[in-house]
């Protein structure tokens, strides 16, 4: 996995830019670890396409492969990179303009009421 936050966040956003990968990640988040075959049974996506995307996601460190039943590989979502991407979004979503406007209004009102 990339060592810097920028790289980690980038991998997450690249992964999320593709609707098929979003569907796969969402399925792993909601349903827990699953094999490519499990996912192909649940989603309207071919097993080959799922396997290809899982390999890419695994490379990016967003899912981990682990031994499952009957020698099949199960894939598990890794939440740590998602949390790094959340930090990036938190910085973008941080609104100081609203509260600072409210502070201005609050001070102006206090001045008005005291005179």
């Amino acid at each position: 996995m990339a060592a810097d936050v920028e790289g980690v966040a980038e991998q997450v956003f690249i992964a999320l830019a593709d609707p098929t990968r979003r569907t796969i990640l969402a399925a792993l988040a909601t349903g827990g670890p699953a094999t490519a075959t499990d996912l192909a049974g649940r989603l309207p996506i071919s097993r080959q396409a799922i396997a290809k995307h899982l390999a890419l996601l695994s490379e990016a460190g967003l899912v981990t492969a682990e031994p499952g039943e009957r020698r099949r590989v199960r894939f598990r979502l890794r939440s740590a990179p998602m949390q790094v991407a959340q930090q990036f979004l938190a910085a973008l979503a941080r609104d100081w303009d609203g509260p600072l406007d409210a502070l201005k209004n609050h001070l102006d009102q206090e001045k008005g009421s005291s005179t």
């Binding site: 939440s79 790094v84 990036f88 938190a90 910085a91 100081w96 609050h106 001070l107």
Partner: protein, 144 residues
Amino acid sequence: MGFPDRVERTVELAHPREKVWAALTTADGLGRWFGDRGARIDLRPGGAAEMTWSNGYTVQMRVEQVEEPARFAYTWQIHGLPEDDPRRTLVEFTLEEAGGGTRLTVVESGFAQLPDDVYREEYDSHVKGWASELGELDVYLDGR
């Protein structure tokens, strides 16, 4: 490039520093313009503070720096991260006298912190712990 680590704003306020200071550092002030449903604050480094909003949201803060009437800083949780995430951003308010009013600068920093390795290991082991517990339950049920 650029993972945004800090957000910075400066506003000119037509009010003396003492008034701005009171709005930033008292429960009465914070609970009106910031949290719209009240606030509590223990104004000393290490002291706890809390703000509440009418939508039910509550945020816990920790007072980090108190230098009346020039500097006030606190840390709080990164909004959007899970409740148990230990990372915090630092919010620093600097109040300067400017032409009879106050120039207020707010800097929030720390968005680009990496989760530390200990935390990641703990988290992963916690997740794995759950998976193996569920696996054990499965084995137990299969055995019946």
